[in-house]
Symmetry: C2
Subunit: 457 residues, 2 copies
């Protein structure tokens, strides 16, 4: 029998997270205060995040202890299995060896609980009673809902309206875990009301939902905000993916030539890639690919600039690849990949040629996901199908070139709650276009008056 899964026991779980800020060739530039434009310290973030999380946000410690209480909850599904995709390789007729890390085994079905558990725990310790957040596809909102249930915290989620309508099941997951979920933009906040006044049919965006969540979070000292991607502490929490994968690839006697992850805010990608990125910084030859949709091409076409993370311009500005905080992407079904910006750490590593971004068309991602499902069995989240599409491209390139090659990608979550998107694909209702240049120009205009980062593009 050919080995299919490489499995670690919970005793083999990493007990420290990896923080790439200790090793970056060029340090990421500091966040800026939204009012003054000066570098923002922890105190500027204090109304929205607890101090223990802010310490991580700015840490340059290479290794950070994972608290026992967090490990205990992560053990519900971690270490996650690493798979060799024998059947996919056979279906493609490729000489490439394809491995994937299966983050879909968590109760919420994605990698998101890796950081949700940690954030709920740190908030609990800091005395937070209620966490407010936003969610795109609902992966993050459901992960945080579950984590809040575990630690006895209240949870409120603003869900991007287009996803709220496309994905009723994720709202029901949040409800099952005891959270309160509202479609954004909503009438519950200033930010929401002002958006609806201009456009009552607005489909929403992550930037808008963040503004709503932050507005509510700062109203009460025992309420805090939580973000499921983009920020440094999230990248740290997700590093457990790559740390486990390194042990498992060793068990398989393999080392990846290519690493692939889909990137919306950047966290599932970074989780797998950053521990390997350290090897690359130290001289290893690895092609590390971040995959995004052609209709929301933050990394491949967005400038590197200081921009706001939210629409209402209430939280500090960060240096990142961005399509502008007023960008409203078309309602593609990979809701988790509709964010206008990209994690500062991922953005910086793109500038330093550690990470190579690519963009793929929506229809190709569903075709890839169906090929994967019929060979490997698992039905993938639409976000994850982006990583699969890029993996298949690399595997077919290896076939053309007759080259052996080892590819490792992050299977960030299953798509069982996203099947309406597959339905749209089967019915031929999915569009398949590149972002028009006008929208890139609008982004440039959006950010032109802001401070420029050193490597501004």
């Amino acid at each position: 029998m050919k080995a299919t899964k490489y499995v670690l026991t919970e005793k083999d779980m990493p007990t420290k997270w990896y923080n790439i800020m200790a090793d970056m060739p060029t340090p990421a530039e500091p966040a800026l205060h939204p009012g003054t434009g000066q570098p923002a310290g922890p105190e500027d973030f204090a109304p929205i995040f607890p101090m223990n999380i802010l310490e991580q946000e700015n840490s340059t410690e290479r290794w950070i202890d994972i608290p026992d209480e967090v490990l205990q909850k992560l053990a519900i599904w971690r270490p996650s299995p690493l798979f060799r995709a024998h059947a996919l390789e056979k279906a493609l007729g490729t000489p490439a060896k394809i491995f994937y890390k299966n983050e879909g085994v968590s109760p919420a079905g994605s990698h998101k609980p890796n950081t949700a558990i940690a954030q709920a725990y740190y908030n609990k310790v800091a005395g937070t009673k209620k966490i407010i957040t936003e969610t795109g596809a609902g992966q993050w909102g459901s992960a945080l809902s579950m984590s809040c249930a575990f630690f006895g915290l209240e949870c409120k989620v603003y869900m991007v309206k287009i996803s709220y309508n496309h994905k009723p099941y994720r709202r029901l997951m949040m409800q099952t875990w005891g959270a309160d979920c509202t479609a954004s933009p909503s009438n519950e906040t200033e930010a929401g009301r002002s958006i609806l006044a201009k456009d009552p049919d607005c489909p929403g965006s992550l930037g808008m939902a963040i503004s709503e969540a932050v507005e509510v979070a700062v109203q009460d000292e025992t309420s805090k905000y939580a973000l499921g991607s983009v920020l440094n502490h999230v990248m740290i929490h997700q590093s457990i993916i790559g740390l486990e994968a390194m042990k498992q690839m060793e068990m398989a006697g393999a080392y990846p030539d290519v690493i692939i992850g889909s990137a919306g805010g950047g966290s599932n990608f970074a989780g797998l890639a950053f521990p390997y990125a350290l090897d690359k910084i130290n001289g290893k030859d690895i092609d590390i690919i971040a995959v995004e949709p052609k209709s929301c091409p933050t990394m491949t076409r967005g400038p590197f600039a200081y921009d706001f993370g939210d629409t209402a311009e209430t939280i500090p500005m960060i240096a990142m690849h961005t399509l502008g905080h007023n960008f409203v992407p078309e309602p593609i079904h990979a809701g988790g990949l509709r964010y206008h910006g990209m994690a500062p750490l991922v953005s910086q590593l793109i500038l330093d040629d550690i990470i190579r971004p690519v963009a793929v068309h929506q229809k190709d991602t569903f075709k890839a996901g169906i090929t994967f499902a019929r060979s490997e069995g698992f039905i993938s989240a639409p976000e994850c199908n982006h990583a699969i599409a890029a993996t298949i491209n690399e595997a077919l390139k290896a076939k053309e070139e007759g080259k052996e090659k080892t590819i490792l990608f992050n299977w960030s979550g299953h798509g069982l709650v996203d099947l309406a998107a597959y339905d749209a694909f089967f019915q031929g209702k999915l569009s398949d276009h590149d972002l028009p240049q006008e929208q890139i120009d609008a982004a440039l205009k959006d950010i032109e008056s802001y401070p420029k980062p050193k490597q501004a593009t």
Copy 2:
């Protein structure tokens, strides 16, 4: 850190299935030919099943080799993890130790692929080109669709109409895996048309859908039928659950006082319970509980009798607990528990006091599932919530009595594709009644003219 999961590697997977027919105190009674009423041989089943499966159906070999090709596909998710439910125990304040076997880790999300993979493989070997089946909640249909994709077979599924409408996502899973799914009763078959002529709004039943599938399967030599529960070979294939659990309970240093599984056709329950039932037959004191809905109380109120497995009376009669093959259960949301009959092997072991059946109310099962989700994280299939409700009852009894007790239940699948049922619960739309006596009387009338098994009740 407290141990949460007990994990085996794929090298530890059982390589033989356990067949309880070798060890039953009273052998199960033979199936009867639908026309003659005489004991039916393999030849009577030959138009619908391939001969290699029929050999298993009648085997009294205690151990049956699992083919390598089957093991290779099972390795995608097996061995499945065994969990200690620390958080649920804490939430209940019970002295009981609760363990559960997680069968939701399969790509289809339930235990069903354990037999679907095996049946697809045996059909492939026997030269079958296309498999036709029925499905209730869609767990079986989706599992078979995936398995057919793995072995390059065509797949056609008749899905009980009420579930087809409640669970569009399962139809989409089948479509993603390349199968063709039709709501039953349909206009595609004689059986379907005759039912629709009498009742155009008929919500369907498993018995009806079986009739449709069998009718189509016998029309072509290279087409076969497959059943996801009830029959002996299915119970054999599912025994891998219990065989793994025994190894894992040993790792945990525990042995169950109570074993619990939900039972519709009986296969997930039997999968966990039968290897332990052998210990009970050999003198061990174990309470083995099969759980069913009060609204479809096959085991607790249905007589033990010879009855047809399908509505059109086309397949051989089997001796089982039954509500009569004309029974149409109310549209409860646990579609997998709506079958009028029960596996003959489970039925026989109830008569011999090896298995104790209990029935639970629908609302209690959802309450139990929500308690489980908020403590353990996983959102359960409505069928599985029946096992959780019985587990909670046993754990609270242990608390009342101040007794230590070890409970092991089968977490047969996740409910992420069944969230519409949770929605109905949240909205207070679920009914909660016992089956009226008239329907039991109708069953008795239904079967009174058929041959009587020796232990007829």
